[in-house]
Symmetry: C2
Subunit: 485 residues, 2 copies
Amino acid sequence: MDENVTTSVVVLAGGSGTRFWPLSREAYPKQLLKIFGDQTLIQATLSRIAPMIPDNQIYIVTNSQQAEQIRFQFTPATSPNFITEPTGRNTAAAIGFAAITLAKNDPNGIMVVLSADHFIRHEQVLLAQLRLGREIAQKGYLVTIGAKPTRPETAYGYIQSGEPLLHFPGAARVERFVEKPDKEKAALYLESGNFFWNTGMFVWKIATILEEINRFMPELAKGLKTIGEQTETVQDGTSPAERTSPAEIYACLPSISIDYGVLEKSEKLAVIPAEMGWEDVGSWNALDKILPQDEVGNVITGNVVNVGCNDSIVYAGNRVIAVVGLQHIIVADTDDATLVCSKENAQDVKKVVEILKTKNGEVHRVHRTVIRPWGSYTVLEEGVGFKLKRIMVHPKSRLSLQSHTKRSEHWVVVCGTARVTCGESVYTIGTNQSTFVPMGVKHRLENPTDEPLQIIEVQCGGYLGEDDIARYADDFGREARPPAV
Amino acid sequence: MDENVTTSVVVLAGGSGTRFWPLSREAYPKQLLKIFGDQTLIQATLSRIAPMIPDNQIYIVTNSQQAEQIRFQFTPATSPNFITEPTGRNTAAAIGFAAITLAKNDPNGIMVVLSADHFIRHEQVLLAQLRLGREIAQKGYLVTIGAKPTRPETAYGYIQSGEPLLHFPGAARVERFVEKPDKEKAALYLESGNFFWNTGMFVWKIATILEEINRFMPELAKGLKTIGEQTETVQDGTSPAERTSPAEIYACLPSISIDYGVLEKSEKLAVIPAEMGWEDVGSWNALDKILPQDEVGNVITGNVVNVGCNDSIVYAGNRVIAVVGLQHIIVADTDDATLVCSKENAQDVKKVVEILKTKNGEVHRVHRTVIRPWGSYTVLEEGVGFKLKRIMVHPKSRLSLQSHTKRSEHWVVVCGTARVTCGESVYTIGTNQSTFVPMGVKHRLENPTDEPLQIIEVQCGGYLGEDDIARYADDFGREARPPAV
């Protein structure tokens, strides 16, 4: 293959945070969460392809709120680029938008499309198949990565392979795409040997996918062209870049999947089968496939007391969850909300989120713990006239210089050392010391040490919303933006 | 009947708090909880018989820890008397102990035995039958109150009635006691019309039950006699009294039920049927019988989002509990622990408590919110080196004058006004003001106003157990007792 061709990875990360509630929230969809192990799904996605693609060739397509949250998960040196969509318009628009953005640098470059919410057990296999995909894509194919099925799964779509591709052992032309099958058909597909799970991972030349979008989705192509003319050239990839398209045009792009809009119609399709232990992390039921089960089929994590359950998923944290005599039940616990769901109804969790949106409260939107670039805060208690937070500040980090018009704050340091700016004074307080920030006074909390700082904040006032904040200086550029609620 | 005969009510309240976990805890068994409505079960039990028996003729048999908690639930003027057992030895010992205690006042008096954990829908019916029972008891009968069955219940024991009692319409001699039946037998009992649920409510002369104990349980009678000789005469009922028997003798009394030890053998038994909507609050399943069900058989209370559940019990508080597609499941939520249990296994909740006892932690024993005579405190957060409490102090109440050897305390008033004693200083702080109590310094928190006081306490120190307390003065006599943990 031509070694001078640029290879970029486009990671689709536009999740809405409904199907993994209460672990996921609107502002923290699953790709931002550590569902398995120590990395968030987006971190795992990026570190998985790191051996093949440098950070500065990775582009994450998402909305601006999530872009901010994702950025917190990386150091400035390892931060990916962001392509922010003004609104979510499904995968055809997201991929097309990424393609026109990347085309400005190198229209003949290769584009690898990944999702931010996949689990892959055998990462080396994926990398080998993506490298093979890159070679096949050079020949003008739209390459799909197909996972070899290990069970008659009815929750995934399938790709049927056809004529083998010469010179590319294992790869084949695509005979057809098939929708999620019933149990009988899924069993036939598994047996046949030439059906593969449609992983939604693709490799193609930017020029090829744009040609095919032009051919099969002219309306999308036209909208993208207008957007392309209105936006600047993307940077050369040496530093993280963020591009925003004109929102009005974007909102009118057709909202369909790339599979339905382009791939099912194109004749340039190839499939590379991969035995990589792939799973879509689509609902709580996915944990059955990914986490180890006990001898009676339970997947249990966290502070759980189990008396005679089987075939159940219990996902707990520090709170005690006792489960007695359950079968086929999912229990997912967080600090402020608990889900108990039959496995058959795991898809209906999104209905819970819809109902919560209609109620007073924020439990569909944010967690008790909110991640910020300088650390995090956890709302411990809210009462009439007061609100209680535990605030953790990273070493050598500080919050913005800020003030509030409707609340005072009492700070007690419970671990570490804080440098406090309060009005004209700057002073240091340590563990078991406290200070008071009167209403209206400019103040700043800073951790000048190499150890984490933890304080308890007691807010007093008639209004205690996060949007009562004026920022005068900020290490993260937030003084220019409206308050993040 | 002889109007000069004393009638006393003995309420058995020795629950262990296992079957209603996590709502009940070892230190807060179900009788101390508001499971239905605004009253705790013990409050409901006492207010139910108030029209018939004055407070000073009510005796609660329980252990000393529960006696303290129960006392908090009543004003000094309405407080019942307490007969405290050194250890729980089942109902024969508890009733015998109560009988010898009451006999010192009036051996010919009438003793009504009630349980602290019953639900009774039609309270007037109960009162009428207890009054009838009092008359029958005067004739030397051991009177049992039998609830007319409304369904073929297999979780209750039954009493079969025999020959009608002359002059007492409805009442009859007892033919026999039967254990919890299987479904078939229960259906026969329901149909027969002369089987009644054994409610564990009794009426008898003190002399009669002591005679029968003497006859059928001579070992118990002997132990009680020794205990009786060693304890003083009970007060005349004008003020709450508390008696403690010698612990060693008590611990050796036979531990069997009054039914098994005496009633099933006696020939003096009568039964009064009552259609009073009686239920034993024995397990979470009892809620099905007591609280209203929706049209698909769910009993739901608290902050619950229900998507397509049926025949389930969801008992929540302020946290969000979402339930999806459940059938025959019990979900019971508290601040620090959640139970999810199949209805068939509701009895196994006690196994959860057994397991929790073997683990580190207190979640089997106490709630996050702990009731004290002066108000309550709630542990909001515990971390390394700190502990956070919300403290509520009743109007005109104060905590003990105390000190701690291993912690300092930061107090922020979030509602109301506090009078603070700290070392030699006494001062007042209001909402949005704070103060600091250094380690080792004698201090006291007082609410001098007519409105509740609420403060946030941040404790800092290497050891933060409740037993790090020295009390120098206390309105509740606790300075003489070891610290209540």
